[in-house]
């Protein structure tokens, strides 16, 4: 099982000392946080995508490439990549590039984004958000699997003979997670393609997560990708760890009260008892996290949100020490001991290469020389199957 952290990249005033970091500071701090995640032995670092202040992460692949370049084990991913307002062609290109640069230590999670004004900034309409997400992924899926794509849909211009470059590393597409809180169509799409399903699992009581994950598992099996317990499930979560439960609550409370998403609403006590939020001692956080599998089944990836709501970077780094040093080692051991037989790990580039090629050498696409038709693309690569362009000798 993989454990990691996810950031939304919010730049929030620290309510305790009234300090608001600059964008430059927050970007540097999040780099430190990501590198620390590797240092303390976590598996995954995820960053969100936003196009308005107070967030900075408009360009997740740039940030993640920077992190991948400075790490050796960490898998970098998103939470989420906007499959609605991004052109799927650009997603195909940017994330394939990230895949090459990170040597396959990446995947991505797709989400719709719920900020209505963002859509028109990118020429889209939130009322079409769901069909847009579904259609865009259908295209993205093909762009990574077919050298030459002819395509036509409702939300972008048609493609004729289009080749998305670079081709995925080893010609194995990045693994994709589909994130959704309550939209069965998204879970259905994840199940149809045999992709992962990720439940936000932060704001709402566990019943919402349980319902969606169960639906996804049933459909995953329905489409013949394996049994229900072999479906690939990820969960969000939120934690703050202290020496004692009292210390954790006391230190986290001011940030909780002012948090942009739920501040000035439910009490920390209510929110802790009714949602997956885990604030407490090492043992309390371990116990609560272990309870997740009781209602979603064995799952592959757990991402914690630990750096939002104005928490200062030093506190976040300290949280990472707790997570990597004391919490995750126990969680690894306990989840491994409890896991049902036959439950797979989260796919990695290595496992996907193995699944596609066995012991054979992966395909390495080599472009044909520029013949003047490289933009109409009948056979872009030396090993392309399909119509060979024939040129008369003049």
């Amino acid at each position: 099982m993989q454990f990691g952290i996810m950031s939304v990249s919010d730049i929030t005033r620290d309510p305790v000392n009234d300090y608001t970091p600059s964008e430059a500071e927050r970007i540097d701090n999040l780099t430190r946080i990501a590198l620390k995640a590797e240092e303390v032995g976590l598996d995954v670092f995820a960053i969100g995508e936003h196009h308005n202040p107070p967030f900075f992460s408009s360009s997740p692949t740039t940030f993640l490439a920077h992190i991948a370049a400075q790490t050796r084990h960490l898998t970098v991913t998103t939470s989420t990549t906007l499959i609605t307002t991004n052109d799927p062609v650009r997603i195909a290109e940017e994330y394939a590039m990230l895949q090459h640069l990170s040597k396959g230590r990446m995947d991505l999670m797709l989400g719709r984004g719920n900020t209505a004004p963002v859509y028109p900034w990118f020429g889209q309409d939130i009322r079409q958000g769901l069909p847009l997400a579904l259609e865009n992924y259908n295209l993205l899926h093909r762009l990574w699997r077919e050298d030459v794509v002819d395509w036509e849909g409702n939300f972008r211009g048609p493609l004729q003979g289009f080749t998305s470059t670079p081709r995925p590393l080893d010609d194995v597409p990045p693994f994709v997670w589909h994130g959704s809180i309550r939209t069965p169509e998204i879970a259905e799409q994840a199940a149809f393609y045999g992709n992962g399903f990720f439940a936000n699992h932060i704001f709402w009581p566990k019943e919402h997560t349980q319902r969606m994950v169960q639906f996804y598992r049933q459909r995953f099996e329905h489409y013949g990708h394996g049994s229900q317990n072999q479906a690939i499930v990820g969960l969000g979560g939120q934690t703050f760890i202290g020496k004692t439960s009292q210390e954790a609550r006391d230190r986290f409370a001011p940030y909780f009260r002012e948090a942009p998403v739920y501040g000035h609403g439910p009490s920390l006590e209510d929110f802790s008892s009714q949602t997956p939020l885990a604030v407490g001692s090492v043992q309390e956080v371990i116990d609560k996290t272990l309870s997740f599998r009781e209602y979603v089944g064995d799952y592959q990836r757990q991402l914690f949100l630990i750096d939002h709501a104005g928490l200062p970077v030093e506190m976040v780094l300290e949280q990472l020490e707790y997570l990597g040093g004391e919490v995750v080692p126990v969680l690894r051991k306990e989840t491994e001991a409890r896991r049902e037989p036959g439950v797979p790990d989260a796919p990695t580039h290595a496992s996907l290469v193995k699944a596609k090629y066995g012991d054979a050498e992966p395909r390495q696409p080599r472009p044909n020389a520029n013949r003047g038709d490289n933009v109409t693309g009948a056979s872009p690569y030396q090993d392309s199957q399909g119509a060979e362009a024939v040129y008369p000798t003049l």
Binding site: L130, P131, L134, E135, N138, H141, G153, N154, R182, T183, P184, E185, I186, E188, Q189, F192, Y193, F203, W204, P205, E207, H208, R211, M212, F215, V261, Y262, H264, G265, P266, D270, F271, Q274, T275
Partner: protein, 228 residues
């Protein structure tokens, strides 16, 4: 009484304990229970005091986050065969706590359920709030308000006219509960209303795999604009 008991839920937004709003609701409930028993059906009564849920209302309004009290109230409403909804009138409108409570419920929670609408006020000048304001809220929720709305200003509390209106409303409610209308809607035409996954208090989990969006989710295409 061999058949199962009917479930009646009283929702009162009265501000004090006891409140005249709760008293009006209770009088109606007692009549409905008595009438129902006379007709051979027992009634299980659940009372929701919105006043007691008030600490949970802000978070429910701001983030659709339902606390334990709201969760129990919703569970009761899921099972309800009939409802008596009573509110005080403030500033010529139903109490904010009353409209707030119903605004956070799933849109499809009360479809087809018979409801007696009741209001109390300090002056008869508020008399039309029940039929002009509260009734439209329940129309939006596609509940089934009974024909007789109840309104009581202080001078009505001891009038026999109010008693007969309570009788009338209770009778209408009893007959509608007995008819099983809401259950029949749920069984026969539930799909024709719009739902979200997990709505109707968590009970709506059916999925239409034949929809355009489901076809799109599974690698298909939407009908193109211009296609027949």
């Amino acid at each position: 009484m061999t058949t199962t008991a009917l479930r009646l839920v009283v929702i009162s937004a009265g501000a004090s304990d006891p409140s005249s709003t709760r008293m009006l609701a209770d009088r109606t409930a007692q009549r409905a229970v008595a009438l129902s028993r006379e007709r051979g059906r027992d009634v299980e009564l659940t009372v929701i005091e919105i006043r007691e849920l008030l600490p949970e209302l802000p978070q429910a309004l701001s983030s659709q986050f339902m606390g334990p009290g709201f969760t129990k109230a919703i569970e009761a409403l899921v099972e309800a065969d009939g409802i008596i909804a009573a509110t005080p009138v403030y500033k010529a409108a139903a109490a904010a706590s009353f409209t707030g409570f119903f605004q956070v419920l799933d849109n499809d929670l009360l479809i087809g359920k018979p409801v007696v609408l009741a209001a109390t006020a300090g002056t008869a000048r508020h008399a039309l709030v029940v039929d002009q304001e509260v009734r439209s809220l329940f129309a939006y929720l596609r509940a089934l308000p009974v024909p007789t709305g109840l309104f009581a200003a202080p001078e009505d509390m001891s009038s026999t006219a109010l008693t007969s209106r309570i009788d009338r409303a209770a009778k209408e409610l009893t007959l509608l509960m007995e008819s099983g209308f809401a259950k029949a809607v749920r069984e026969d035409s539930w799909k024709s209303y719009s739902h979200e996954f997990g709505s109707a208090g968590g009970t709506e989990v059916s999925v239409d795999f034949e929809s355009d969006l489901m076809r799109l989710a599974t690698g298909g295409t939407l009908p193109r604009s211009g296609d027949a």
